[in-house]
């Protein structure tokens, strides 16, 4: 019995060691996002609180904590409170399988990619629950839009993942990264990388696909009725999801923790730093796109997902499979 307690303690220690850096980096990433957004528009962005405004997010979080939580009287209270919790939990739970280096991972499971895909497809529930439980027009419309959008773009993300899996022959994230030690998949699968990036924007409700919270039409979408800490949880979950998508992108296409070239001075830099660097690079692209691209119309969004990305990624899948088969490069596995 006692050894279980010890194992439990160790696991909790590991989980905290993973979660606290993620929460801190989410706070920093919000600052980076606003800063890039400001610089693109020739503003300064947040630069008052702390050095370079780095503590701005902490100040915001403090403000949210001390604000009153308002629950609308006609809302379904249980679901209303549950929705931000679901969003944030799902965003954090997925980090359990993200490998920061060859042995720096919380749980190295065989079906890592499927796990990530499953968790990111569950993410829609937080939004749809929040929108429905608010019992108000705008949140409901926002939730419906976002559910349709996320389900549509998941389909093309799934096919892109299959493209990568065909080249690797394993669902394990570590194997996927190690298979790229000679050539990052961003080179042979470049069109898939572009489509993955755009689908990730749609999946995380980022501009130009932020229709669920399009402020001109829907006030703030599914978050309209939320205030205080519950709004902050939605917000944290959203940014943790964006970071997660960047991490998935860097694992699938940018070679995870592998250095750019495996020669002497470059490969001295430790693996987690490479991984962080790649995540930050993808996030920088996310932030730039938020600043420079105008919002899509809803029918354009749906058309892009179903009529362009889905057929194109299917065709590319067939091409990849035939190429691998013709040149006898299909991964044989270890059996």
């Amino acid at each position: 019995m006692f050894e279980y307690v010890i194992i439990l303690g160790q696991e909790i220690y590991k989980i905290l060691f993973l979660l606290i850096p993620i929460l801190v980096s989410v706070a920093m990433i919000v600052w980076l996002d606003r800063r890039v957004w400001g610089l693109v528009q020739k503003r300064k962005g947040p630069n008052v609180v702390g050095p370079f405004g780095l503590l701005q997010t902490l100040a915001d979080a403090l403000k949210y904590i001390f604000k009153e939580i308002i629950i609308p009287s006609s809302a379904n209270k249980a679901v209303f409170i549950l929705a931000p919790i679901v969003t944030m939990t799902l965003a954090l739970v997925a980090w359990a399988v993200i490998p920061m280096s060859e042995d720096f991972v919380l749980s190295d499971i065989n079906v890592g990619v499927l796990y990530l895909f499953a968790v990111s497809s569950l993410g829609v529930y937080g939004i749809i629950m929040g929108g429905w439980a608010s019992n108000s027009k705008y949140p409901f419309l926002g939730a419906i839009r976002s559910a349709a959008q996320m389900v549509s773009y998941e389909v093309s993300i799934g096919i892109i993942i299959i493209n990568v899996l065909l080249c690797v022959g394993s669902l394990n994230l570590k194997d996927i990264v190690l298979a790229q030690s000679e050539l990052w998949y961003v080179i042979p699968l470049f069109p898939m990388f572009v489509i993955f990036f755009i689908s990730a924007l749609a999946e995380t409700n980022r501009p130009p696909f932020d229709l669920p919270e399009a402020e001109a039409e829907l006030v703030a979408g599914y978050q309209t009725e939320y205030s205080g800490m519950m709004y902050a949880m939605f917000w944290l979950g959203e940014y943790a999801n964006i970071l997660l998508m960047c991490a998935i992108g860097s694992i699938l296409f940018l070679g995870g923790w592998l250095p750019i070239i495996d020669i002497y001075p470059v490969n001295l830099i430790p693996a987690p730093i490479w991984m962080t660097f790649k995540i930050l690079f993808l996030f920088f692209l996310f932030a730039l796109i938020k600043a420079i691209v105008p919002r899509y119309r809803y029918d354009q969004l749906m058309r892009l997902g179903w009529k362009i990305f889905l057929p194109f990624s299917l065709i590319y899948l067939v091409l990849t499979a035939s190429f691998l088969f013709y040149f006898d490069k299909l991964p044989k596995g270890n059996f």
Binding site: V79, N110, V111, S121, L122, W132, A147, V151, R303, G333
Partner: protein, 208 residues
């Protein structure tokens, strides 16, 4: 083994409780939420017995896609509160149909489990060495070789049902204006903007 059984009972209790709540809860949307909880705990049970691929596929397909559409339909139908009790009153006519369906399902389950019981060589008939390769590899090896016909047939059936659903809901309406994306994107200022010098007190005729 202790931790294993604790987790097993934890997930099974949640699964049974939530499946009961699916049929007893008054609020239809809550029913769907409990259905989702049920799917998740069944997926966790699959992962616990070592069928990790199946568990994840349940999470992706049922929870991530099917249940979202369920939720969609239930929310849109505006039947949130079930005013009428299921068992009392005039509208209790669906009880016999429900009973027939559930008895049929029970019989089918009995046949399946019975067939399994009497065919001991089901597990040993496979030519694969099942011990040292991962779950996903095993499934792939069997599904695309021995059972390729069934696999393809299942795909064709799904495709047919999709086409059927589209055909049932598709109707061509007259007088609907459509947008041509190509024309919208390829517009340029010279073809759509015209500068006109308006003379005083004379007005301009546009759209001719």
């Amino acid at each position: 083994m202790l931790a294993h059984s604790i987790f097993f009972y934890f997930f099974s209790v949640i699964a049974i409780f939530s499946s009961l709540m699916v049929i007893t809860s008054r609020n239809t949307v809550n029913s769907v939420f409990f259905l989702i909880l049920d799917f998740i705990s069944v997926g966790c049970l699959f992962i616990m017995v070592g069928a990790e691929f199946l568990g994840m596929i349940i999470l992706i397909v049922y929870v991530g896609a099917v249940a979202v559409l369920f939720l969609f339909v239930v929310m849109m139908l505006n039947v949130a509160e079930q005013k009428q009790s299921w068992f009392i009153g005039k509208k209790a006519t669906h009880i016999p149909i429900g009973l027939i369906v559930s008895i049929l399902i029970l019989l089918e389950l009995l046949v399946v489990v019975g067939g399994w019981k009497y065919k001991d060589d089901l597990m040993s008939s496979s030519t694969l060495n099942l011990s040292n390769i991962s779950n996903t590899h095993q499934l792939g090896l069997v599904m695309y070789t021995d059972y390729i016909l069934y696999f393809q047939l299942a795909g064709v059936i799904l495709l047919l049902s999709m086409i059927g659903a589209i055909l049932l809901t598709f109707r061509q309406r007259k007088g609907v204006k459509k947008q041509s994306y190509f024309n919208q994107i390829s517009r340029n200022p010279s073809s759509s903007i015209e500068l006109i010098e308006v003379e005083n007190n004379k007005g301009v005729k546009i759209d001719d």
